[in-house]
């Protein structure tokens, strides 16, 4: 990245800051946050304490005052571009006149537009579900997509697909919004001018004809990871036509360590599949295997099943995590040890040495004891333990993990190896480097970029932009560049041709899942615009430029079917049956890879002496963002507004540092006050000079992060992402070089405070719960001793106290809907939040509004840190524990559907009323927006449409909406309804048969998306239902049960399974 760009970046952040910092705005404190005060507070408290923010922990009275106000009081202006008085009067006069005119008439006629020929199998008004798959890195998530009269509206997991098992993740849930993204590229362009597809095909054919002579020696293809057998087959056949052409791959957020580690350990690229359900003890080496990476959804599901506690006889697995920055996996772990990313390798070496695999490494004293215990525990559980290395760790760590797993006898039980899922595994960094070198050497004439955004994502020392752009003399190194992508992005604007890529819901295709299973990608809708698939763009260069995706995929499937179950004389129609079954099920039966026998050709002793990490230097590590990933989801409003699992930041990334590092660097963040808003946090802006480049970022303090480590999340700072994604956060790629792809080192002087501040939107500053006991946690030991521990913190009032006429008014004689959320299973992954947003037409409000505490998510996930249970001593390290490595818990909070609902008592217009089945019904058309209900809600789960947040004009977004749920307007309160549309649907279907609604017939959107089965919904009157059984457990407790609200949603206390040896320390 050149100097020009850096300056832009810098100015941009500063510029926005000024804009958001008008006179009269203020902060809670003048100086940086007082960590000494935090420490003192920690010291003075004993017993179990939970806290959410550093300010809360410090107990600043101003901060507490701030939290007492739920809604902005006297906010000076609701709009960024405020209108002056004269304009306001003009507008009001005009709109009054118009409203007066339009209010008099009848509503205009509406029209019914039936089909001309109705498709077979479609019943108007009933949704249909189709199986398909979303390719994502070296995995594909099997999906069932809901379609209303041809419009895909909601993504669900496919229970038959191994990568989903019925659950989904945030990316899959939000991908439907990408389909309807109004900023998508809509047609073929050449130098930015609209062209026809046939013109592109002609040009591609001309290029191909020109390349025939030298065998394509000057032709290059650049793609991301390809797991699609069809696409790979097409590329391979193109490479047969042009034997001298080359296929390069670049996937920016997936490390080469996984691939190269297998090569180091086994001599060839292999794929590792874990079976966490069989492991009693798991060690994650900087691995977020429960939250990201191939197979994380089934891994989370199977892992959480081993944390099910139905009674005192149940056992739990144990998870250790070593990681530089808190991840979903680390937050779930029973023991977590913050370690700089570069030290994880040392840890792995030391562990291998401890297990007698050779080598010798000494660790710091604290880690040594931890290591001892882990090693002992692993050894005790030979064959039922598992060591998982992280995607961003180098090859050595992966090789060590393979060696340790082999030594522990885990291969074949808790993990197995298969042939690679990737169609063509290569070292991506080398592959991209080779391409850049070839371009530099003038060896490339035609470059076809299939997906991805290399100008934005390539290491900045490669200067990919200069490789394909015109230079000062109006020359360029590659004669023809073609980019196929869904958006016209940073790469597209430098390429000659841009082909708008179809969404996966618009094309035929196929993709392999993490275990090799092939899923057929089935389109739900014809392309909305003049877009084409990667396959079609590739085919334009082949001998069959017009071949349809369907034909290619089907032919490939036929060949695969032949391979899977060879028949000498296939009976007629047998393929048709196979094909239809594959489409219906979403998976090609029997296509999963068989376990391979892999011989270890590696000894930890053979590793060269580790390169000592530069002493006294800061470590800068790059991680994909949990919401926008590598930047590909930057224009997705649902994901931008989704609070990140651990930091709870929205709309921005931030350079994350530990509290101690922050103290050393004198970096802080301060909560802003302005009209009672909360969620706006002013953070110090820092310049980071790294690898001959510079980036300006806002700093964010993360308890539990390793000291002297700065995390730079990728995926932000996009210059051309679209309306939602452009110019959000900072671009970490700007300081990422090929030599330091995942971790870079620099002295702490590389970080320089600019003296400016930048407002960040953090949702963990909203809705604080006054320090009451709302989260119940314990250890397995405590649980076994006293299974009722969760209910002993508060005195519960007698049940007969009620403002209603009790049983007479609401007997709940038939169905009594209820929900149980198992905090033991929840890992905070956020899938439920996006699923709810998608199902219930919840709007996106934007950063400004989130900073005012007005985000609309019906279900929020609170993140709590637990104060160390240790009694304070004079030893500073003991009280630092809480900041250094606090146990982390997540608590999803939707509407609690109280039986004694405080909201219902205060509504002056009867807009929120009790239903006969115990729901707190919300009647939007009655609501006049007094917000009394929200003020009276102790759980703060009601959301108010302060402005018209919903986009009513953009035609594409109209297609997205769930027709079963009202689209709310301004001035209306809304909240979780237990997906009442799904309840009504199931009730109607069962009533037609006069049958009871069986358990599991109603699945709420959050429950359906949850990978860990933490959310269970059902009928509490049915004693055999899952929810009734969970509620009968002693772990079950009501949130603020002492208020006698009698919530229908209850929680099961989180139980951790710590190793007693480490506990007694």
């Amino acid at each position: 990245m050149d100097g020009m760009r850096e300056r832009e970046q810098h100015e941009h952040i500063v510029g926005r800051h000024d804009h958001n910092h008008p006179a009269g705005d203020g902060k809670l404190q003048d100086g940086p946050m007082d960590l000494a005060a935090v420490r003192a507070k920690l010291e003075s408290k004993t017993g179990k304490q939970y806290w959410r923010t550093l300010e809360e922990l410090a107990g600043d009275p101003q901060f507490e005052e701030l939290l007492h106000r739920e809604f902005p009081r006297q906010a000076p202006s609701d709009w960024d571009n405020s209108v002056d008085r004269r304009d306001f009067l003009k507008l009001m006069a005009a709109s009054l006149a118009l409203a007066g005119l339009s209010g008099c008439g009848r509503t205009p006629e509406q029209y019914l537009v039936p089909y001309v020929k109705q498709p077979d199998g479609l019943t108007l008004g009933r949704p249909q579900f189709y199986a398909t798959a979303m390719p994502f890195g070296a995995d594909a998530i099997g999906l069932l997509v809901e379609s209303h009269e041809g419009r895909p509206t909601k993504i669900e997991g496919n229970p038959d697909h191994p990568s989903s098992l019925g659950a989904t993740n945030v990316f899959a849930q939000a991908s439907v919004l990408n389909l309807y993204d109004p900023d998508r590229a809509q047609t073929v362009t050449k130098f930015g001018e609209i062209q026809t597809w046939s013109l592109f095909v002609e040009s591609a054919q001309a290029l191909a004809a020109g390349m025939k002579g030298d065998g394509g020696a000057r032709f290059r293809i650049l793609s991301g990871i390809v797991t699609s057998p069809t696409l790979a087959g097409q590329i391979q056949s193109l490479l047969t036509t042009f034997p001298k052409a080359k296929w390069h791959q670049w996937e920016p957020a997936v490390g080469d360590g996984t691939r190269e580690g297998a090569k180091l350990a086994f001599g060839s690229y292999l794929n590792t599949v874990y079976r966490p359900e069989k492991a009693d003890v798991i060690l994650a080496l900087d691995s977020d295997f429960l939250g990201s990476g191939p197979g994380h959804i089934p891994y989370a599901k199977k892992f959480s099943r081993r944390r099910k506690l139905n009674g005192p006889d149940d056992t739990m697995n144990r998870l250790y995590a070593v990681e530089p920055t808190p991840s979903v996996t680390g937050a779930t772990a029973d023991h977590r040890w913050p370690l700089r990313a570069s030290e994880v390798e040392l840890f792995a070496r030391a562990l291998a040495a401890k297990l007698g695999l050779g080598g010798s490494v000494t660790l710091a004293a604290g880690a040594e004891k931890w290591l001892d215990t882990v090693a002992k525990d692993l050894q005790k559980h030979k064959g039922v333990s598992l060591v998982v290395a992280g995607e961003q760790q180098p090859a050595e760590v992966h090789a060590l993990a393979h060696a340790i797993n082999a030594a522990l006898g885990n291969v074949g039980t808790t993990l197995y190896y298969t042939e690679p899922v990737e169609a063509h595994p290569v070292n991506h960094l080398e592959s991209l480097a080779e391409l850049c070198a070839d371009i530099e050497a003038g060896k490339v004439e035609t470059l076809l970029i299939l997906g991805g955004n290399p100008v934005y994502t390539a290491p900045h020392d490669f200067d990919f932009a200069a490789k394909i752009a015109f230079d000062k003399t109006k020359q360029k190194k590659v004669k023809t560049t073609i980019h196929v992508s869904s958006h016209f992005d940073e790469t597209s604007e430098l390429c000659d041709w841009h082909v708008a890529e179809s969404h996966y819901l618009e094309t035929w295709g196929d993709a392999r899942a993490f275990d090799g299973t092939v899923g057929v990608i089935q389109p739900l809708i014809a392309p909305l615009y003049h877009t084409h698939s990667l396959r079609a763009a590739l085919a334009a260069f082949s001998d069959q430029p017009g071949v349809s995706d369907y034909d290619v995929v089907r032919a490939n499937s036929e060949a695969m079917g032949q391979r899977l179950s060879p028949m000498s004389s296939p009976e007629p129609g047998s393929f048709e049956r196979f094909w239809r079954k594959s489409l219906h099920d979403g998976v090609v039966a029997g296509s999963a890879f068989a376990p391979l026998k892999a011989t270890l050709k590696f000894s930890p002793a053979s590793l060269p002496t580790p390169k000592p990490a530069p002493a006294n230097e800061m470590e800068f590590i790059f991680r994909p963002d949990p919401c926008v990933y590598d930047g590909r989801f930057a224009n997705n409003g649902w994901l931008q507004e989704l609070p990140k699992p651990v930091t709870k930041l929205t709309w921005d990334n931030a350079a994350m540092i530990s509290p101690k590092t922050a103290e050393n660097l004198k970096v802080a963040h301060n909560v802003a006050w302005r009209g009672g808003e909360h969620g706006k946090v002013y953070s110090n802006v820092i310049d980071i000079a790294l690898s001959n480049s510079k980036v300006t970022a806002a700093a964010w303090i993360v308890p539990g992060q390793a000291d002297d480590t700065v995390v730079l999340p990728l995926g932000y700072g996009r210059k051309r992402a679209g309306y939602t994604g452009t110019n959000k956060g900072f671009n970490a790629y700007a300081v990422r070089t090929s030599g330091a792809l995942w971790a870079a080192f620099a002295p702490s002087s590389a970080i320089r405070k600019t003296g400016q501040e930048y407002p960040l939107a953090c949702t963990q500053y909203h809705f604080n719960m006054e320090g009451r006991q709302i989260l119940a946690t314990g250890t397995l030991e405590e649980y076994l001793k006293n299974p009722n521990f969760a209910n002993e913190h508060a005195e519960l009032p007698p049940q007969e106290l009620s403002l209603y006429n009790g049983e007479a008014e609401f007997p709940y004689h038939r169905d009594k809907w209820a929900m149980a959320i198992d905090l033991n299973k929840c890992n905070g992954c956020n899938a439920c939040v996006v699923a709810c947003q998608s199902e219930n037409n919840i709007p996106v409000v934007g950063k400004e509004q989130v900073m005012r505490g007005r985000e609309m998510h019906w279900i929020r996930i609170d993140r709590y840190y637990q104060k160390s249970v240790k009694s304070p001593t004079n030893d500073p390290s003991s009280y630092d524990e809480s900041l250094f490595n606090p146990p982390t818990f997540f608590q999803p909070v939707p509407c609690q559907q109280c039986e004694n609902a405080p909201c219902e008592q205060v509504c002056p217009v009867g807009a929120t009323v009790h239903s006969a089945e115990g729901l707190n019904d919300m009647v939007y058309n009655r609501c006049v927006g007094t917000r009394y209900c929200s003020n009276n809600c102790p759980y703060k789960v009601r959301r108010f449409n302060f402005l018209r947040f919903q986009d009513w004009e953009t035609p594409q977004l109209k297609l997205l909406r769930n027709p079963e749920v009202t689209v709310r307007s301004r001035g209306v309160m809304e909240k979780c309804t237990y997906c009442v549309q799904r309840i009504n649907d199931a009730r109607i279907e069962s009533e037609k048969l006069n049958a009871p609604i069986h358990d599991g017939a109603i699945v709420t959107a959050c429950e359906q998306a949850c990978p860990t089965e933490a959310i269970v919904f059902g009928n509490a009157n049915d004693q055999d239902s899952r929810v009734a059984k969970l509620k009968a457990q002693q772990r079950n407790y009501a949130l603020l049960g002492e208020l006698n609200t009698r919530p229908r949603t209850t929680y099961l206390a989180a139980v951790r399974n710590p190793n007693p040896e480490l506990e007694s320390a």
Binding site: E109, L112, V116, L124, R126, L919, D921, T966
Partner: protein, 219 residues
């Protein structure tokens, strides 16, 4: 001091106060009456359609069952407006040269939908489901009136919330035997209260409290 106002002004003052109150009352009643009038509800107003399709002819004279065209009525929330193809099932051979039916043929040829004017319009925040009503003994004519006698369909009832609730509070008044659901000429027997109560039990209707919960219709 002399009186400023003559005694008669007392009357004028009283008269203006009372008449002001009266006028406010009248205005209020007028507003409510207008909102409930056929002008706003469009009750009993026939609409001109792109093709003057006669239910009287097709149902009353030809005896075609409702479900031949409205296929979703027993299974889906919406009864469904038939595709042009359904018209062409017959009119490909019957009256296939009639100029009157040209819009149908044109639609079929050009694959462009016919845009029918919507007659029965519920508010957007109401989620009505045809199938549960039909399956629980509410006949078509209970809401739609005698469609078999309507040359052009009009809305036979107000479709106001009050009208819905009348029935949800007291469904016995309209319940009929299952074989009479699609009978347009069904008349409530004299002992409807008695029969209705029996049918309510037979159909296992939910309690009035459940039928009138807000989320039954609003979500």
């Amino acid at each position: 001091m002399a009186q400023i106002f003559h005694r008669s002004t007392n009357f004028i003052a009283r008269f203006s106060v009372y008449s002001a109150l009266f006028l406010v009352g009248v205005a209020l009643i007028a507003v409510l009456a207008v909102a409930r009038s056929p002008y706003m509800t469009r009750q009993n107003i026939s609409r001109e359609q792109p093709l003057q399709f006669s239910h009287k002819h097709h149902v009353g004279d030809d005896g075609i069952d409702c479900r031949y065209c409205h296929t979703g009525v027993e299974t889906s929330a919406v009864a469904g407006i038939p595709p042009t193809k359904t018209c062409m099932n017959c009119h490909a051979v019957l009256f296939n040269n009639a100029a009157y039916l040209e819009p149908i043929r044109e639609s079929y040829r050009s694959d462009k939908s016919i845009q029918w004017v919507k007659v029965h319009r519920l508010a957007d925040f109401v989620y009505f489901n045809h199938s549960i009503h039909v399956n629980k003994g509410v006949g078509c004519s209970s809401c739609h009136g005698q469609v078999n006698q309507m040359p052009l369909v009009f809305q036979a009832n107000t479709l106001l919330m009050q009208w819905c609730l009348d029935c949800h509070r007291n469904p016995e008044q309209v319940l009929r035997p299952k074989d009479q659901i699609f009978n347009m000429d069904w008349r409530a027997p004299d002992n409807q209260e008695e029969v209705g109560a029996k049918l309510r039990e037979e159909y296992q209707l939910r309690t009035t409290a459940e039928l009138t919960s807000c989320s039954t219709c609003h979500r």
